[in-house]
């Protein structure tokens, strides 16, 4: 309190009034004189305001009735035409029914209720000294009567027990879900699992994949899974065929593609959106959620955006019948990063 520096609080010597003639601060001039509204002085204006309020209440009633009529007059049949008519008329009716009650009340208050400003005194939040002394005494007395100060073991026991009591509630939540284990690292892809079209699950012939084409792919056995959405959330794949010459050679991935047909995880390594946009000319894959951009010619390395890791590649080959199959599961966990990912 002592070190507040206020120029015009009158405490600073520099602001001493000279000879008490001119005050240090301006004085609050008090409320300006009340100005009457038209309706206060002109009975005709008051009458007019009354009529306006009544008119608004009338509009409200019309709106409510219109809503009820429209509800029965416009049944829905699953087409947008009826839906639109119904929604607009119900909205206008109900909206007007409610809105005009509001305007009527506000108009009434503003024109016909007294508008002379009133004062309330404020009182400091701080209690009086007597109240504070009494309160402190009561707390001390309460503490003494509880006897906890004299019996420290009870206090200690109480704190300990109270700290322990919520723990069962925490433990109780254990069965909200299974421990993660290695679940995120494994998908339905495995040696010989056919690549199939999303969502029909029809297997894909290697010969059908022409240069420049792109396929949204799921494992052929996806729908045999009990939780196929969970599996799809990890196993979704994008299949693209490019001229093999445009792709940088990586010795460790030799034989992972089939004549320039590449399969990459479709799940963004940022936060898991589907990387669904393929720019055929630049061979870039773009995630529409946060614009992470992956370059197919550099084994889907990140070239822009918030993702760090390249999209995992699915090694593929062709089976006896000419269908594309996986050589194995992904060799690293697909999708967003997580702590145990390593």
């Amino acid at each position: 309190m002592s070190d507040i520096q206020l120029p015009n609080s009158g405490k600073s010597p520099a602001d001493e009034p000279d000879a008490g003639r001119t005050p240090v601060r301006f004085r609050n001039p008090g409320l300006p004189a009340h100005r009457h509204r038209q309706a206060d002085v002109d009975p005709r204006a008051a009458k007019r305001a009354e009529r306006q309020v009544l008119a608004m209440l009338g509009l409200s009633a019309v709106g409510s009735i219109f809503f009820i009529v429209a509800y029965f007059a416009f049944p829905l049949d699953g087409t947008f035409a009826t839906l639109q008519v119904s929604n607009i008329s119900l909205g206008l009716g109900l909206g007007a029914g409610i809105f005009f009650i509001g305007t009527a009340a506000v108009h009434l208050a503003k024109t016909l209720m007294p508008d002379t400003e009133m004062f309330d005194e404020r009182h400091p939040q701080r209690g009086t000294e007597a109240e504070r002394t009494d309160a402190a005494a009561i707390m001390v007395q309460g503490g003494q009567e509880s006897g906890l100060g004299r019996r420290p073991f009870i206090l200690g026991g109480l704190v300990g027990a109270a700290a322990l009591a919520p723990l069962p509630a925490v433990v109780l939540l254990r069965d909200l879900g299974p421990a993660p284990g290695g679940a995120l690292a494994h998908t339905l892809w495995d040696e010989g699992v056919r690549l199939a079209l999303d969502p029909s699950a029809e297997p894909i012939l290697a010969s059908d994949v022409t240069i420049g084409s792109v396929f949204h792919v799921i494992p052929e056995n996806l729908y045999e899974s009990d939780h196929f959405l969970d599996e799809k959330a990890k196993a979704a794949v994008l299949l693209m065929r490019v001229d093999p010459d445009v792709v940088d050679v990586r010795e460790d991935r030799a034989g992972w593609d089939v004549d320039g047909i590449y399969a990459y995880s479709k799940i963004c390594t940022h936060v898991g959106c589907p990387v669904a946009l393929y720019e055929q000319q630049t061979h870039h894959l773009l995630c529409p959620c946060h614009q992470s951009t992956f370059d197919l010619t550099q084994h889907c390395k990140v070239i822009f955006g918030p993702a760090k890791r390249a999209l995992p590649q699915l090694p593929i080959s062709v089976d006896d019948e000419g269908y594309l199959v996986a050589q194995s599961d992904f060799l690293e966990p697909p999708g967003p990063s997580y702590w145990e990912r390593g």
Partner: protein, 563 residues
């Protein structure tokens, strides 16, 4: 009315006798007389900006009403069913019961779409009103003692509102909301050490699982609204305990509250305003479509539509996720630390909340002002605080705009990469610029106030004196006009102490920090006009229509120097 002037109230008409009977009944059982006496004539000050909090409160009530209607038809289940409702394009499609029931609400329940849209629009308006209300409180210094706790409660309400909004956004289980959930999953996975476990506990296993919708549902319709209601009750109880703040003005002091009584004026105005807010939201919902879930289809982890956007209030987090470069993801000792996700999505928003919670206490520590403040600041009179506020708005807006970088790139034909880089720079450059500019504008406005208080209004009347000089006549302000310009106080900065006292003791670092902050806040300041200054200005006769020869002398000198 006819009884005014008599001491005891004697009911005259039949209605009056009945209500007197009811009043007597209630008073003897719940002490109604004391309640009425204590509250019914409570005075509230009038200002449009005080209605922002009301909008937030009313849209919450509207959310409760419309939401209750929705629960009558919505099924919070992820069990897969075949859609058999009347919307033909989806007929036979496999989808969750949640999505199917949301479609039914739109296509088969009359007024269901209207209520869905009322619910969604009022959710958007609820959060927006909270934010704007918060800005009003910030810029006018209404968070100062004794209202610090109420500011904290307000911040908690804002966070709860975001959580409530997000849990509701996910419930229709359409493609858009499902992708939103997927992003949340990715964000939680990025939490070091425990992230994967939280995901598995939250989703009941792997994403998406079959538990998340019912779990979000109970949070959305019970836990979070319950918490919000409880905090709103505390928030309002404190408003009653403190009485409302008021803007400075003639007759308004720190010790009074000037305005209109609850009964009848505010009962009518505030009650009427509830109906207006409700009515406007219904009208918007009748006329403007929102979240057309039938366009998106059921959730499926593989497809996505381009240009996906979250609801506006989550936009800043999404934008930050887009702005953050991917580099800071590390593998340490076999564990992955994904700072490229963790920092923008959780750490920065967390720090924003901490900064909001801390600001009132920080400012009070710097000013050392422990007095109660019930008169609001005009934002210009707190230039650094206003600068900080605008800086926060600007950085929020950059983050928020970043969430629409794809749409902006398309609309303006820009490269999305260039635009993202531009926004990355803007994130660091614009906020400080906004701070400096705002502070300068505030100081200039204060100088303008001083000019006005000292010299009065320009009248536009130019007078030529007998000597052939010209000057413009200024009209002095009336006392009431002047008061608003001169009523405030300007803090002065603390002197920065030396590193050591004269006796060689070290000055504690926090004292020096406080003095430095105090200089940061109050070094540049424009102090309000004092009566003495006004008198001096009048004495010099400046630009006022005071017919005194020395006045014109002064005028001549000034004109001479400026020509």
């Amino acid at each position: 009315m006819s009884t005014t002037g008599t001491n005891a109230y004697t009911p005259t008409s039949r209605t009056a006798r009945l209500s007197a009977g009811a009043a007597d009944y209630l008073d003897e059982r719940i002490g109604a007389a004391r309640l009425v006496k204590g509250f019914a004539r409570k005075v509230f000050p009038d200002h449009w900006s005080f209605m922002l909090g009301e909008v937030a409160l009313y849209s919450f009530v509207i959310l409760l009403i419309s939401g209750t209607f929705l629960t009558l038809f919505y099924v919070p289940s992820m069990t897969l069913v075949e859609y058999e409702g009347s919307y033909a394009p989806m007929y036979g499609v496999t989808m969750s019961e949640a999505y199917a029931s949301s479609l039914n609400l739109s296509f088969d329940i009359r007024g269901g779409l209207l209520m869905r849209q009322v619910h969604h629009w009022s959710a958007l308006i609820f959060v927006a009103a909270i934010v704007v209300h918060m800005l009003r409180v910030f810029f006018t210094g209404a968070f100062r003692k004794p209202r610090e706790f109420n500011w904290v409660l307000g911040v908690i309400l804002a966070v709860l509102a975001l959580a409530e909004g997000f849990t509701g956004y996910s419930l229709p289980d359409d493609l858009l909301s499902g992708n939103g959930l997927r992003i949340i999953e990715g964000v939680i996975l990025a939490i070091p050490v425990v992230g994967t476990y939280i995901v598995f506990f939250l989703f009941g296993g792997e994403f998406p699982g079959e538990s998340i919708i019912p779990r979000l549902y109970i949070l959305h319709v019970f836990v979070l609204p319950g918490l919000i209601l409880a905090v709103i009750a505390l928030h309002l109880a404190l408003v009653v305990a403190h009485k409302h703040t008021q803007y400075p003005g003639p007759g308004r002091t720190n010790d009074n509250v000037v305005g209109f009584p609850l009964l009848p004026v505010y009962a009518a105005k505030a009650g009427g305003f509830f109906f207006i807010v409700f009515g406007v939201i219904i009208l918007i919902s009748g006329l403007v479509s929102i979240n057309a879930i039938w366009n998106y289809g059921p959730y499926d982890p593989s497809p996505i539509s381009a240009g996906t956007q979250p609801d506006w209030y989550i936009g800043f987090v999404d934008g930050l996720l887009r702005l953050m470069p991917g580099q800071p993801e590390f593998t340490i000792a076999g564990f992955t630390l994904s700072l490229n996700v963790f920092l923008p999505s959780l750490v920065v928003p967390g720090l924003m909340v901490v900064a909001l919670l801390a600001y009132p206490f920080l400012e009070q520590w710097v000013t050392g002002d422990k007095r109660e403040h019930h008169l609001l600041d005009r934002p210009r009179n707190a230039p650094v605080r206003t600068g900080i506020g605008v800086m926060a708005i600007v950085s929020y807006c950059v983050m928020w705009a970043a969430a629409g970088n794809d749409l902006m790139a398309i609309a303006f034909g820009l490269s999305i990469n260039d635009l993202t880089w531009l926004l990355r720079f803007a994130f660091f450059v614009l906020p400080p610029v906004a701070f400096v500019v705002t502070k300068r504008i505030c100081l200039s406005l204060q100088r303008k106030d001083r000019e006005l208080a000292l010299h009065g209004h320009e009248t536009g009347r130019v007078v030529r004196t007998a000597d052939g000089e010209y000057f413009e006549v200024h009209e002095p302000l009336s006392e009431t006009e002047r008061w608003v310009l001169v009523q405030h106080e300007a803090y002065r900065p603390l002197a920065i102490p030396p590193k050591k006292h004269e006796d060689g003791r070290k000055v504690p670092a926090h004292e020096r920090l406080r003095a430095n902050l105090s200089n940061f806040f109050f070094e540049d300041r424009v102090e309000p006009v004092t009566p003495r200054e006004l008198e001096a200005a009048r004495h010099h006769g400046d630009h006022e229509a005071i017919e005194q020869p020395e006045g014109r002398e002064a005028e001549r000198r000034e004109l001479g120097s400026s020509v």
